[in-house]
Amino acid sequence: MTNARFLVLVALALTVVYAATARAQSSGSTRTKRAPANAQTAARSNAEFEQAVKLGDQARSAGRLDEAVESYTKALHVRPKWPDGWWYLGAIFYEKDRYTQAREAFSNLVALDPKRGPAWGMLGLCEFQSRDYERAVISLQRGRTLGLAGNQELESVVRYHTALLYIRFEQFEVAYEILKEFLRIDNESSKIVEAFGLTMLRMPFLPNEIPPDKREQVLISGQAGLNMAARRLDDARTAFDTLLARYPNAPNVHYAFGVFLMNQDADAALKEFRRELEISPSHQPAMVQMAFEYLKRGDYDTALALAEKSVELAPKMYPARNVLGRVLLQLGQVDRAVKELEEGVGLAPTSPEMHFALSRAYARAGRQADAKREQDTFKQLQDQYEARRSPRNNPDDNQSKAKP
């Protein structure tokens, strides 16, 4: 999946799609801008450009990549706003593991055409390889949002790296949701299992950073997580049983099992979260889960104590703000609820549920205009969310269980 050659093939294939249009646009714009006085100079430049492109294309097709780089660089010298030139250069540099140069090329490309999703995707991959993870996650996510020209392979690579980065940034729930997308294309490879495992155990590592003594634990957790995501509950349960038998005191194991149990047996889930808190007394996600469950049960005082504690422990985690805001709303502390939910929206501006929760709080506070604005944002974000899901919607979704 991360094979560089494969990626370059993908990149080059995408280029073909863009090339004709862009070149035509490029020639057209040259024609319109041509001034009579500079006609000869322009014609010379044009010929020089066409020649460089031709040589570049020939060299690339023949696999003479250094020559191709030289020719494309010449062409870009003549016409620096030629998007496909930057795409070719970026793809070749990526192929040759020259990530800094590849990154520069893709950066130039997205500056010229900020709506080109595949370019953002490739830029993100370069940034990932350059270990600039913070920029990488932004670029990859932008690529996903803009769309990757329907190229399933590039989508998979971008999706995988995006999930890895969310794991690294401890956004495990987001990573889990992204990894679930692989189930829609029946990708259950060992890499995906491994990534699920890191998510379940809340280990902020990249795969090559997993300590050898943790690898087995990660893989068993991954099986549990993948089967849980695929709703193969018996298989998930078997994996959890193995995990609990082998690692009964390891951090996050009881938490993960509790999450699994949540929809089936909430009392048993709460027991697992309590056990997790015995092992890791500051386990904020366990507190958040418990707070949500008590909120659901209408036990607002218990929920409040847990939610407040979790915000205190991790003020930058939006689920804690979400649950605290919602509990406060139930308790009639509307102003405080608004404040917490506003914090949550600030922390997770692309989270539809945060905007929805905030809209409810504004409505309760009588701030109808603000409520309407948040509702509108919620609808927009929902559409984006749907767009990410829709290319291969799981037909079985129609069969999901839900009753009024």
Partner: protein, 388 residues
């Protein structure tokens, strides 16, 4: 003498007892009044979150004062959201239902006001009594069974549209791999709470399910909250209006998106509901939220069109007045000129009768054998796909 002393002592003891008795009675009355007067007003109520100590009194007590509301309510869809099997009209009217799925044969048979759900593969047979019948039968009815200590949702349900059994909505139509699987879907604790929490009264409190307390259907106290303190106050001559919840106090948006949606579902569940695609047509608050005309205005809230105490009106013309409560202006200019703080909207250029027949399409999800009214109010384009 001694006897006289004894009598005096007895009389004294009797008097003391009387005084003490009155004292205790008075104290109890005072305490009870005090507890009522000190009770917190019920300003908010979530139909799905009854506290563990909820004191439900039952419809009969409510009807002593609110007969006008309670009487028609018994015939409403919500009132009949669940039927006791002994009283089930659907099961009584259909005493012998059958269905076949691959090697499995199903039968629901009625005997002595009890109905039995039977599934067989020709070699082995499972027969279990139906415990609860979910749904009033307007669209259909699904059954809850108990097998080996677990509750199951029946794999097959009754559908009025076909006058018989078919797969329950959401159930896989694949041939089950075992007789147990053929029986139905084992309900998790969460699913059990969801089902009973919305189709019955008093069965879920403090987040726990207690099937001993099941009162079939959505009764008065599901929406108005437990009436214990309200009734105690009224009986002791105290004002009790503040001790019962009246959803009228909510804004239009709160009513639709928080209160009714506790069961009818809203965007708090958007991810799950979207994934259901056309099956989400059954969730009215979720759908209406996307309508251009949806707002906090009470004229577009659930109760603007539906009186929850009565059966749903089937006559489409009935709803015209509801649409015309807003859609009165002939033009945008007039709309602006008319602005009285109540807000208005442009009148439909096509017509002013039977509005819902054009703007709220009927949608029949696969398996449902019933067309639901899509509450996403809009100008429906010819041939458009279901907007999810």
């Amino acid at each position: 003498m001694a006897a006289s002393k004894g009598r005096k002592r007895n009389a004294l003891c009797f008097a003391v007892l009387i005084i003490l008795g009155f004292g205790i009675l008075e104290a109890a009355t005072w305490a009870s009044t005090r507890s009522v007067t000190q009770a917190k007003p019920m300003t908010r109520w979530d139909p799905r979150k009854a506290p563990a100590d909820a004191q439900f009194v039952g419809d009969q007590i409510c009807s002593q004062c609110h007969k006008k509301q309670v009487a028609p309510y018994s015939e409403s869809a919500m009132g009949m959201a669940m039927e006791a099997v002994t009283d089930s009209r659907v099961l009584a009217a259909n005493p012998d239902l059958v269905f076949r799925n691959g090697p499995y044969s199903y039968a629901i048979k009625r005997k002595d006001r009890q109905s039995f759900y039977r599934v067989t593969d020709g070699k082995e047979t499972l027969t279990v009594p139906i415990l609860y019948a979910f749904g009033q039968g307007k669209a259909g009815q699904t059954y809850v069974l108990r097998y080996e200590g677990e509750l199951y949702e029946s794999l097959v349900s009754f559908y009025k549209g076909v006058g018989g059994l078919d797969f329950t909505v959401g159930a896989s139509s694949k041939v089950p791999s075992s007789l147990k699987e053929a029986l139905g879907w084992p309900l998790s604790e969460d699913e059990t709470k969801n089902c009973f929490g919305c189709h019955s009264t008093g069965s879920v409190s403090g987040g726990r399910i207690n099937l001993e307390r099941v009162v079939p259907g959505v009764r008065c106290e599901t929406c108005h909250g437990p009436g214990g303190q309200h009734v105690a106050a009224i009986q002791s001559g105290e004002p009790g209006g503040h001790l019962i919840f009246n959803p009228k106090r909510l804004s239009g948006d709160e009513l639709s998106q928080e209160f009714c949606s506790a069961c009818h579902r809203s965007n708090g569940d958007f991810e799950k509901l979207r994934s259901l695609q056309v099956n989400n047509v059954r969730f009215q608050p979720y759908r209406i939220f996307y309508s251009k005309c949806y707002s906090d205005d009470r004229r577009i809230s659930c109760t603007a069109c539906h009186n929850p105490h009565e059966p749903v009106k089937e006559d489409v013309a009935y709803y015209d007045a509801k649409c015309l409560a807003c859609h009165t202006a002939q033009s945008k200019a007039q709309d602006r000129a008319n602005s009285t703080g109540q807000g208005s909207a442009i009148r439909c250029k096509v017509g002013t009768k039977e509005c819902v027949s054009c703007h709220m399409q009927k949608v029949g999800p696969p398996q449902a054998h019933f067309k639901f009214t899509d509450h996403y109010i809009r100008i429906i384009k010819s041939g458009e796909a279901y907007p999810n």
